[in-house]
C-alpha cells in the first residue's frame, strides 16, 4: 500500500521534494549547522520565491549553454569514439591524449577561455563540452567494442559497407552504453556551463552563484544551486526518456 503510494509516478516528484527538504532540515538540526554555513530550507525557499523571475531567466541562459556543450559532446564525442573503437592506431594515440586532457581541472584552465573567447556564450559552451565529452567517449568505445562478432559476420555476409555496419548494427547495439555515457555527460555539462560562467560570463546561474557568494547571500546561493540541480535532473530525465523511446527492445526495458 505504502509502496504503491511511493511508486505512484504522479506523486513521486512532490514526495521527493518533501523528502529532500525534510532531510535538509534534519541535517541542520542534527548537526546544529549555523545559518552562515548552510541556510535553513525555509530561508532558501523564501529567497527562491523572491528571486524567481531572475533565477528563471538566468537558468535559461545556463541551460542554453549546457545544451550547446552537450550538442557538441554528441557531435564530436561519438565520432571520435567510433574512430577509437575501429582503429588501433587512433586508439593508441588519441585515447591517451583524451585521458591526458581529462585529468586537468577545468577550473584551472577556464580563465584562459575568457581571454580567447570573451564573455559571451562561447566559453560556457566550450567548458560544458570539455566536461561532458569524456564519459560519452569512454562509454561509446565500450559499446562499440562489445558488439557481438556474430552480428558483424552477419553484416559482412550481406556485403554491408563500413558505414552501413555502423549505422545498422554497431550503433543500435552500442546505444544502451552510449546513453549511459550521455546521462553522465548531461549532468557534467551543467557543471561545465556553470564553471564557464564562473570564469567568464555576466549572466547565468553561475554568475548568480558567484555574486551571491561575494555578498555572502547563502540563501540565494543555495536557491541557485537548487535551480542548477533541477536543470540537471530535467535534462537527465529528458535523456532517459529519449533512451526509453529509442531502445525499447533492450533487456533493461522489457
Amino acid at each position: 500500500m505504502l509502496r504503491k503510494l511511493l511508486l505512484c509516478p504522479a506523486l513521486r516528484p512532490f514526495l521527493l521534494i518533501l523528502l529532500l527538504l525534510a532531510l535538509w532540515d534534519l541535517v541542520i538540526r542534527l548537526f546544529e549547522i549555523p545559518a552562515y554555513l548552510i541556510p535553513p530550507p525555509w530561508e532558501v525557499v523564501k529567497q527562491f520565491v523572491a528571486e524567481w523571475p531572475r533565477l528563471l531567466s538566468e537558468s535559461w541562459k545556463t541551460t542554453l549553454a549546457t545544451l550547446g556543450g552537450f550538442g557538441l559532446t554528441i557531435v564530436i564525442g561519438i565520432p571520435i569514439a567510433m574512430l577509437i573503437a575501429y582503429s588501433r592506431l587512433v586508439e593508441s594515440y588519441v585515447y591517451p591524449l583524451l585521458v591526458f586532457s581529462q585529468s586537468i581541472p577545468k577550473v584551472a584552465i577556464a580563465p584562459l577561455f575568457v581571454v580567447w573567447f570573451g564573455f559571451g556564450i562561447l566559453p560556457k559552451v566550450i567548458s560544458a563540452f570539455l566536461l561532458g565529452f569524456f564519459p560519452v567517449v569512454v562509454s561509446t568505445v565500450m559499446g562499440f567494442k562489445s558488439v557481438e562478432p556474430d552480428m558483424l559476420d552477419l553484416a559482412r555476409s550481406m556485403g554491408a559497407s563500413r558505414l552501413q555496419t555502423f549505422f545498422k548494427i554497431s550503433l543500435p547495439q552500442a546505444l544502451p552504453a552510449i546513453f549511459s555515457g550521455l546521462k553522465v555527460s548531461v549532468t557534467l555539462a551543467v557543471v561545465g556551463a556553470v564553471v564557464g560562467e564562473f570564469v567568464g560570463a555576466n549572466s547565468g546561474i553561475g554568475y548568480v552563484l558567484q555574486v551571491a557568494n561575494g555578498n555572502f547571500d547563502l540563501p540565494l546561493m543555495f536557491a541557485a544551486l537548487v535551480v542548477l540541480s533541477s536543470i540537471g535532473v530535467i535534462l537527465f530525465v529528458a535523456v532517459d526518456l529519449i533512451e526509453r523511446s529509442m531502445i525499447p527492445w533492450h533487456a533493461s526495458q522489457r
Binding site: Y36, L37, P111, V114, V199, G214
Partner: protein, 310 residues
C-alpha cells in the same frame, strides 16, 4: 560637443562588483567620462590575473586590478603598464573576531591563521611576521580558498585569516554578526601598492590622448568618491541593484578611500603614487613575491604618471 564621436572603452574590474568599484560608477553617473568623450563599459572580472591577461590580449581597454599582479605579468613579458595606482596603502591585514582579543601583532603568537596559498597576502605574511619578531613556527597556518578561510574562522577551525580590510573583514562581520578586528600589514610597515589602472603598452603610444582623458575622468571620480563614499555606493547600486547591501558597501567604500594616499602623497590627487612606494613594492616582490631578481627592472618600467592630470 554632441558631434564629437565617443570612444568606446572597456574597463575590466578585478572581480565581481564590490565596494571599491563604486568609484567608477560614480564617475560614470556624474558624467566625467562622457565629458572626456568616453563611452565607458564596466566589465566584471574573475581575478586580477585574468584581467591582466585580458588587457594584454586587448580584450579590454583598461583594467582595474592589483598592480603587483600586473607587475608579475609584465615581468613575464605581458605588454602592460599601470597608468595610476589608486590603493597606495595595502589593504592586507590579518583579522579575527574581536571576541578573541587579538588586537596587536604579538597576540598572533600561538594562533591558527587561514591563508590562501600563493596569493599576495600569503607572500607578504613571512615579512609581516619578521618585522614583528614572530617566528614562523609560533603560528599555525592552514590553507584554503577565500570562502574556506571565512568558513574556517567563522567556525572556529582558525582564529585568524589573511584578507583585505574592505572585503573579508566586512564579510566575516556580516556572516557571524560579530565585530571583527583587522590588523593592517601597512601599520607594521609592510606596505605594497595595490589596486590601480592598467592598460596595454601600445595604447600609450597609439592613443595617448585617450589614456589621458580616461585618467582625468577617473581622477575626478576618485576625488568625488573620497568626498562622498555614500554617493558612490548609491551610483553603483543604481546601475546594479544586486551588487550588494548598501550599508555593507558603504563601510567597505569608506575603508577603501582610506587607502588612496600615503603620507607622502596625502596632498596630491588620487592615482599619483610615489615612485619610492613602487620601488619598495618591487623589492618586496623580489624578496618574498617569487619575482626573479633579473627581471625586476625599475619602477618606471611598470608605472607611469605621465597620463595623470596635474
Amino acid at each position: 560637443q554632441a558631434e564629437k564621436p565617443k570612444d568606446k572603452v572597456t574597463l575590466m574590474l578585478n572581480w565581481y562588483l564590490y565596494s571599491e568599484h563604486a568609484t567608477f560608477f560614480l564617475g560614470k553617473e556624474k558624467g566625467f567620462y562622457a565629458e572626456e568623450g568616453i563611452d565607458l563599459g564596466i566589465q566584471e572580472g574573475r581575478g586580477s590575473a585574468v584581467t591582466a591577461q585580458a588587457v594584454a590580449a586587448k580584450s579590454a581597454t583598461f583594467g582595474y586590478i592589483d598592480v603587483t599582479t600586473m607587475i608579475k605579468a609584465a615581468a613575464k613579458g605581458a605588454p602592460l603598464k599601470s597608468t595610476g595606482v589608486l590603493f597606495q596603502v595595502s589593504p592586507m591585514s590579518v583579522m579575527g573576531l574581536s571576541e578573541k582579543n587579538i588586537a596587536t601583532p604579538k597576540d598572533i603568537i600561538g594562533k591558527t591563521v587561514a591563508v590562501t596559498p600563493g596569493d599576495s597576502m600569503s607572500q607578504m605574511w613571512p615579512l609581516f611576521l619578521k618585522v614583528n619578531d614572530i617566528r614562523p613556527d609560533q603560528v599555525k597556518v592552514v590553507s584554503g580558498d577565500g570562502q574556506t578561510k571565512l568558513n574556517a574562522v567563522a567556525n572556529g577551525q582558525a582564529d585568524l585569516l589573511l584578507g583585505y580590510v574592505m572585503d573579508q573583514a566586512i564579510k566575516l562581520q556580516d556572516a557571524t554578526g560579530k565585530p571583527v578586528t583587522p590588523i593592517r600589514f601597512a601599520d607594521s610597515g609592510v606596505n605594497q601598492i595595490s589596486s590601480g589602472i592598467i592598460t596595454h603598452k601600445n595604447l600609450l603610444t597609439e592613443n595617448p590622448d585617450l589614456v589621458k582623458r580616461f585618467m582625468r575622468a577617473s581622477t575626478k571620480a576618485a576625488e568625488a568618491a573620497e568626498k562622498s563614499p555614500e554617493a558612490a555606493v548609491d551610483a553603483m547600486l543604481k546601475a546594479h541593484p544586486k551588487a550588494g547591501v548598501r550599508d555593507t558597501l558603504i563601510v567597505g567604500m569608506k575603508q577603501s578611500v582610506a587607502l588612496y594616499h600615503t603620507q607622502e602623497t596625502a596632498n596630491q590627487r588620487p592615482f599619483r603614487v610615489a615612485m619610492k612606494n613602487v620601488n619598495d613594492s618591487l623589492d618586496l616582490l623580489v624578496q618574498y613575491g617569487g619575482m626573479d631578481a633579473s627581471t625586476r627592472g625599475k619602477p618606471e618600467d611598470y608605472v607611469t604618471l605621465d597620463f595623470l592630470p596635474n
